[in-house]
Amino acid sequence: MSKEHDKGMSLIVKVITRLTVGLILLFGIYIILHGHVSPGGGFAGGVIIALSFVHLMLAYGKDVALKKFPKTAMSFFESMGAILFLSIALLGFTGGYFFLNFISKGEPFRLFSAGTIPLSNIAISLKVGAGLFAIFVVLVLLKFEWEKKE
C-alpha cells in the first residue's frame, strides 16, 4: 500500500479516476462531433479532452500519464491539427475561393451535414487539446524540479 502513496493522490481518488476518465473523454468527443447541431464546437471539446488527461496526471502522477500520451504524440497531434485545418481551407480553392464550403451539405439536423464544418471542428479540437495539455505538462515539470532542488 505504501508504494501507491509515492506519487499522485490517495487510493479513493485513484479508484474514482479510473471510472470517470473514460467518460470525460467520451463526453468531449460527443461535444466535438455534434458541434453543428447543438452548442459546443471544437474549442470546448478540445479543452474537455485536455482536461481528461490532466485529471489522469493529477491523480496518478506524471509517469503514468506521460506513458499514455507521450511527448512525441503531443507535438504530432498539434501540428497535424493545424495542417489539417489549413488544408481544408486551401482545398476550397477547387470550388472558387479560399475557405469555400465545398463538400455537399446534406439535409439539416443530421450528423453528416453542413459540409466542412465537422471536419474543421475535429482539426481545431486536436490542436487545442494537444496544445493545452502540453502547456500543463511543461509547467508541472518545472515545478517538480523546484521541489526536488529545495
Partner: protein, 112 residues
C-alpha cells in the same frame, strides 16, 4: 444603462488590482477579472428582449433570436485569454526562480 454600469465597475475592480498590488500573482488575477468583464460586456450588447438562443430546431419555428455575431467573437476571445494567462504564469515562475521573490518593488535590476 444600470447593467452596463455594473459591468464597468467589475472592470474597474480589475484595473485597481493591476495598478495597486505588489505581488505578481495578484496582478495576474486582476488581468483575469478585467478579461471576464470585457467578455460579459460583449454578450450584454448582443441580448434581445424575449429572444431565444441561436440554435434552430426541427419541430418548432423560432422567430426572434439573440445576436449571434458577438457570441462568435467572444468564443475566440475566451480561448485566447487562457493562452495569455498560461504565458504570464510561465513568466512569473521564471522570475521567481531568478529573484526568489514575487515582489515587484524588489525586481529592479537591469542585467544583460
Amino acid at each position: 444603462m444600470i447593467i452596463y454600469l455594473l459591468c464597468l465597475i467589475l472592470f474597474c475592480c480589475g484595473l485597481y488590482c493591476i495598478l495597486r498590488k505588489r505581488n505578481i500573482i495578484k496582478i495576474i488575477l486582476g488581468i483575469i477579472i478585467a478579461e471576464y468583464a470585457v467578455n460579459l460586456f460583449f454578450i450584454l450588447v448582443a441580448y434581445r428582449m424575449e429572444g431565444r438562443s441561436p440554435i434552430l430546431s426541427s419541430d418548432v419555428e423560432i422567430v426572434n433570436m439573440v445576436d449571434p455575431l458577438p457570441q462568435a467573437l467572444v468564443l475566440t476571445a475566451i480561448v485566447i485569454g487562457l493562452a495569455t494567462t498560461a504565458l504570464m504564469v510561465a513568466l512569473a515562475m521564471r522570475i521567481y526562480e531568478k529573484y526568489k521573490t514575487f515582489d515587484i518593488t524588489k525586481i529592479k535590476e537591469l542585467r544583460g
